[in-house]
């Protein structure tokens, strides 16, 4: 094997694209003004901010005024959930069991504060049944928050069907679209979305930048107090270079690259499923993000396979790393009905812009080799 480095963890974060970095560069040391300043330096910054807002809003079919910049997906989710909850004062929230921790953790906090939260289950593919949402809506329901695409298994939800229900029932609808933005169509009008969380570092933009779409007229309580930035909803000097990069990243993302990645991903899944014994594909066979693959290998543990692949230059992720972060099996895999003992050998490989066919073929052989190596020392493997 050669000395390749193959990054297959694009769901965790992405490199900053060349075009994106170029779009950011002027805002570090030349047009460095504070967007609140009245002078020319400030106006340059303000212009960059508003142009960026326009570009990103367009991608969601939203108005620029409906987009607010944050420090990332976590902040966007926190603002959406707590901002709506605090504004309403009390009530019931519907979410689902496979949400990202940046949804689940705020929900648990809101429960402690007296809100009630329903965590909907999913089927074995990780799909939320829209009729479950319908059944769960109560008179005091204030918000439905269902993530567009899952970060671990890539399953994509039917936002349009859920949006129909929330509209009918007069309930606000939020989606965490951090994984799906630019990969799956998001159209706030068609999908009847009231709030959408997105971030930059999953789409070849810089880390530390996110946004929240808030439909015009939807009232939300600010979570960061200070100056009157972002329509008084998010205080703090705007990260102009980061935001300009985020906008560029949104702009350059496109169907063509998604289709290319999808082909590579299909190849990867096919080769692993046919080339390795006792392996299972987690997530939905079709309704999944174009770049996501997630496998469970019997008889081995996630961190081990991850680290052995890492030694071969292949970077992936596991939801099952035994560390302080997760002594527990992945809540996502558990929710799809897997037993804890089946969850430990999961491996997520998420593809991206820089991956070539050669990279994927290299990764496939690496996986085959290391699964075999680990099974050789595993008590569960006696063939």
């Amino acid at each position: 094997m050669d000395n390749r480095r193959v990054y297959l963890d694009h769901a965790a974060t992405t490199p900053v694209a060349k075009e994106v970095l170029e779009a950011m560069m002027p805002y570090f040391s030349e047009k460095y003004g504070n967007a609140s300043s009245l002078h020319a330096f400030g106006r340059e910054a303000k212009d960059a901010l508003e142009n960026s807002r326009e570009k990103i809003a367009k991608k969601l079919n939203a108005a620029p005024e409906e987009l607010l910049f944050t420090s990332g997906g976590t902040e966007s989710n926190n603002l959406a959930l707590k901002g709506i909850a605090q504004n309403k004062g009390k009530g019931h929230i519907i979410t689902c069991k496979i949400e990202h921790s940046a949804i689940l953790a705020p929900c648990r906090l809101l429960e402690k504060q007296g809100f009630t939260v329903t965590y909907l289950g999913v089927d074995k593919y990780g799909t939320v049944d829209p009729s479950d949402v319908e059944k769960a809506v109560r008179d005091d329901t204030i918000l439905v928050s269902i993530g567009h695409a899952n970060n671990e298994i890539g399953t994509v939800q039917d936002l349009e069907a859920i949006g129909k229900i929330t509209k009918e029932r007069g309930v606000l609808f939020h989606t965490d679209a951090c994984q799906s933005f630019t990969k799956e169509g998001i159209n706030v009008k068609k999908q009847n979305l009231d709030l959408v969380s997105i971030n930059s570092h999953k789409i070849y933009g810089p880390k530390g930048v996110g946004a929240l779409f808030i439909r015009d007229g939807v009232k939300i309580s600010s979570q960061l107090q200070g100056g009157e930035h972002e329509k008084n909803l998010r205080a703090g000097t705007e990260n102009v270079s980061g935001i300009a990069g985020f906008a560029k990243a949104a702009e350059i993302a496109g169907e063509k690259e998604n289709a290319r990645v999808l082909e590579l991903r299909k190849r990867l899944i096919k080769e692993i499923l046919f080339g390795v014994e006792e392996v299972k594909l987690n997530g939905h066979p079709e309704k999944r993000l174009c770049n996501n693959s997630n496998f469970s290998f019997n008889g081995i543990e996630g961190e081990s396979i991850l680290l052995r692949l890492d030694m071969l230059g292949v970077a992936c992720s596991t939801a099952s790393a035994c560390s302080s972060h997760s002594l527990m099996p992945s809540h996502v895999l558990l929710a799809t009905g897997m037993k804890p003992e089946e969850c430990h050998g999961s491996l997520r490989m998420t593809l991206g812009r820089d991956n070539t066919k050669e990279d994927i073929d290299y990764a496939i052989s690496a996986v085959k080799e290391e699964v075999a190596n680990l099974r050789r020392i595993s008590p569960f493997w006696r063939k």
Partner: protein, 151 residues
């Protein structure tokens, strides 16, 4: 995150395998927790003449399993029982605090194998070992609700 020695033992574990004619077998861990170790010893004149293991687990579990077999091989049973987790971890150049938990598997496995050997041969089992044996058997998988840094 892992020391060079841990990675070395993880990538090239010593004494891997099974032993159909083992004198003592230790089986520890729990599939629910995601780590399992099987350890086999061959005993001659109260000395561990040969030792083999198989481990399903994280790098820390595999590396400490390997290291335990390396250190135990050739020791008397008493000496082997004296092997502490601390000693294993230190001899591997340390482990991240959150991984200490995973390293317990290996020492427990060795104890279980010795216990098994003594029991099979109807030999007296030291109080301390018996207590540890009971504790290991009773162990459940630690669970709790954590927000891992899912990405």
């Amino acid at each position: 995150m892992y020391s060079k020695d841990v990675m070395e033992h993880f990538m090239h574990p010593r004494n891997v395998g099974e032993m159909p004619d083992a004198d003592g077998v230790g089986e520890v861990g729990n599939p629910v927790c995601g780590d399992i170790m099987w350890i086999y010893i061959k005993v001659k004149d109260d000395r561990i003449e040969d030792i083999k293991f198989k481990t399903l687990g994280c790098a820390a579990a595999i590396a400490t399993s390997s290291k335990v077999t390396e250190l135990a091989k050739g020791r008397t049973l008493d000496e082997a029982l004296d092997l502490s987790n601390k000693e294993i971890v230190e001899s591997l150049g340390g482990l991240p605090p959150v991984k200490i938990h995973c390293s317990l598997l290996a020492v427990d496995g060795l104890k279980e194998a010795i216990h098994d050997f003594l029991a099979k041969n109807k030999r007296p089992i030291p109080d301390k070992l018996e207590k540890e044996h009971q504790k290991i058997k009773a162990e459940k998988c630690e669970t709790g609700s954590h927000d891992h840094n899912d990405q």
